[in-house]
Every structure is written in C-alpha cells, then in structure tokens.
Amino acid sequence: MNNYLKYSTALLILITAFSQLVYAHHSTAMFDADHPIELSGTIIEWQYSNPHTFIILNVSDENGSKTEWTLEGRSPSAIYRLGWTPNSLQPGDEIIVTVNPLHSGAPGGNYSNIRWIDGSSIDPKAKRPD
C-alpha cells in the first residue's frame, strides 16, 4: 500500500469511528454515538465519583414498565470546576438526558445535555436542600 492510500484509509477510519470522542479522557468505544437516544426519568442516585459521575435513572416506557439505567457522565475533575457538586442533583429529580447507549442494547450508556423534565437548563450551583 502506498503512503497516500495508507494515510487516506487511516483518516477515513478515524473520522468514521471516533467522531464522538469530544470530551472523554479515555475511549468511549463501548457507547454507540451513532444512535443517541433521549431518556426522561427520575433520578434514583447521583454518584459523584471517580473516574466518572453516574446517574442511576428510573425510566418508564409507554406500558408503565420501568427500567433502571446506569448512565456515565463526566468526571469530577471535568465538572467540579464548572460548579457541579454532589448536591447539584438529588434522588427524585426528574430529568431528560441524551444518551449514547451500549452497543449491546443493555440499559447503560454515557449521557450529555442534561436538563430538567420541562426542558429548562440546570443551574448546578443552585441552592438545594442538604
């Protein structure tokens, strides 16, 4: 393979395979960025932990069946300086998130674009009950 073909092939693979790698400090290969979904539900737990924060979200489908999703967010190192604390979200909060789900279809993924259930933005520094 000549150099032109080799580099062109490599670039094509890179562009198609990794366009989703915007912020992650490591590979997000296990999440399907080509097929994002919107999930709305009630927070069971907000885990302010390393290497990632997690939202455990209770999601109901149209038949009333509930599924517990484990959703990976950015690390404290990425969001603490932006004002997010362990108190920014609480159990019972109703939210919407955009999720890149696991390729396997299991109820897990990484999320972005978090907002309140009415679509309004979340102020991570807002005073919440302790």
Partner: protein, 292 residues
C-alpha cells in the same frame, strides 16, 4: 487574572536555593560521592522561574496533536504499527476500547500524561522540578541536580526524567526546562484513539517547557519510539490560573465501571450485572432462577 509578582518570587526561589545549597553542603562529609555529581556551581547566581498556579491544557481535541488527526494528518507510524492501530480502530468501532490502557484505570504514562486532560501544578526547586497531574493524582520528578543516568532504572509509567535549565534570553533567570525521560513502562498509547507505542517500551521523550507569555506555557514534546518512522514532535499549550484555584481528587478505582476480563470488556451496571458492550458478546449476567 492576577499578574505575577516576579520580584517576590525571585526572592523566594533564591531563599529556597540557598537553603538547599546549605543542606547539600552540610551533607558533604558523609555523602561526598553524591555531592560530586551535583554541579550547581554555574547556577549560583541564577534565579528560577515563577511557574506557580494551575496549568490546564488549552482548548482543543484530546488527540495527541491538539489540532487532531483530521488536520494534522495521521501519526507517523511504521507499517507494522499502522496495521496494529487500524486493528484497534476496528475493535473500537465494534464497541471494544482496545489499545487504550486508561480505560482500565492504568496510568496514561509518558508522553500522554503531558496532554494534561486535567490540570497540573509545577513545583520548581533547584534539585527537582515536580509536575503534579490531577488525572490519577500522579507526580513526575525531573531531576535537575546534574546527576547521570543510573545503571539500572526500574521502569515506571512516567519514566525517569533528567532536566536541564536554560536561560534563553540571558536575563539571569532560567526560562526553559529541557527534559529527557527514559525507562517508561507500558502498555501505553498516545491518546484515546489508541495510537500505539512500541511494545519494547524503549521510548525516549524529549521536552522543552517554556512560557509564551506570563499566562501561557508551551511544551514541545518529541517522542522517539520504534513504532514511529522517526521522532514525532508536537506542541502542547497550557493555560494558567492564578486565582481561586480548585483542585479535585482523582482516584480511578473508586467507581470504574469499565471492566476488562481477558479480551472482553464489560460495563458494570448498578445492579451488579456485567453488561456486554458489543453486539454478539457472550454475557456474564447470572441467569434468573426461573429460566430454562
């Protein structure tokens, strides 16, 4: 942002230097061999730079070259390692984070740590400059005491670094730290795109750290590695914060839900099941009691 008080810092560094010189002298009677290796005689009147504060990577991609491979072009890998990289790429496309050791909480190692995905602190003393990286709460030690390379160095992910201060503008204050790092342990990759380094772990990394202005630092990083067709130089820019500095703890093992078992990767769900991450992957989820 706060402007620097160079006069105050220069005085402080001189004090630190005098104290450390005194300590070295006091030790000379019982450690004369070591003192012979420490040559600060030409540096007696030199001041050290003020590199305090918090340094964060300038905005840009997390690709090894900040401008990204789409703009910078593909990495200069040998044919063998280009094929390895393309193999990793195909696996990642299928949902397997192949070739990216930090996915399993391993340190990034050199040179990737200097991408500074999260901020760093630079602590300058005459004998050692320390670089603290928030990602995985790691320290690099850069020895500037004039030592030679040891006969044997236990490999480490961040390697073993010897530095040399330079006064490029001749004003009597050091302004550039040249660093050579060897004995770097693997596995490592240049970035989360899994651009590989050679499995022989004979990487040598050369760095030149210098300020562009009071609030901006450039690290010119040259990697010499057998996976490459030649030395690969990239420039990483860091931006400084001097006021209201916030540090966060980073303990990767706390709640890492990316689990590698053999060649397979799993995602640990809240209920403890090991969810497959790729289509067709054998599951490790306990079967319900009433299943057939």
């Amino acid at each position: 942002m706060k402007q620097l008080d160079n006069s105050r810092f220069s005085a402080l560094t001189k004090i630190i230097f005098l104290v450390s010189t005194t300590i070295i002298t006091a030790c000379s009677a019982e450690d004369s061999d070591r003192i012979l290796e420490v040559d600060n005689s030409s540096n007696t009147n030199m001041a050290y730079p003020d590199w305090r504060g918090q340094w964060s990577r300038a905005s840009g991609s997390l690709n090894w070259p900040s401008e990204g491979y789409e703009q910078a072009g593909p990495p200069p890998l040998t044919d063998e390692y280009m094929a390895i990289w393309q193999g990793y790429t195909a696996l990642q496309e299928a949902g397997i984070p192949a070739g990216d050791p930090p996915s399993n909480c391993l340190p990034q190692g050199m040179p990737r740590i200097m991408k500074m995905t999260y901020p760093m602190e630079i602590i300058v003393t005459p004998e050692i400059t320390y670089i603290y990286a928030e990602w995985n709460s790691q320290f690099r030690r850069i020895y500037t005491d004039g030592r030679s390379w040891p006969d044997y160095i236990l490999p480490a992910f961040n390697g073993y670094s010897i530095g040399e201060w330079h006064d490029e503008n001749g004003d009597g204050t050091f302004d550039m730290l040249a660093i050579e790092t060897r004995a770097i342990k693997g596995p490592r990759s240049f970035d989360s795109r899994a651009v590989p380094l050679h499995a022989n772990d004979e990487t040598i990394v050369l760095e030149e750290l210098r300020l562009i202005d009071d609030m901006t630092m450039q690290n010119t990083i040259t990697t010499i590695d057998d996976a490459l067709t030649g030395p690969w130089t990239v420039n990483q820019i860091y931006e400084r914060e001097l006021e209201d500095i916030i540090w966060a703890e980073y303990a990767c093992a706390e709640n890492n839900r990316h689990l590698k078992l053999g060649d397979e990767w799993y995602f640990i769900n809240q209920d403890g099941t090991l969810e497959p991450t790729r289509i067709g992957q054998p599951g490790l989820i306990p079967a319900p009691e009433n299943s057939n």
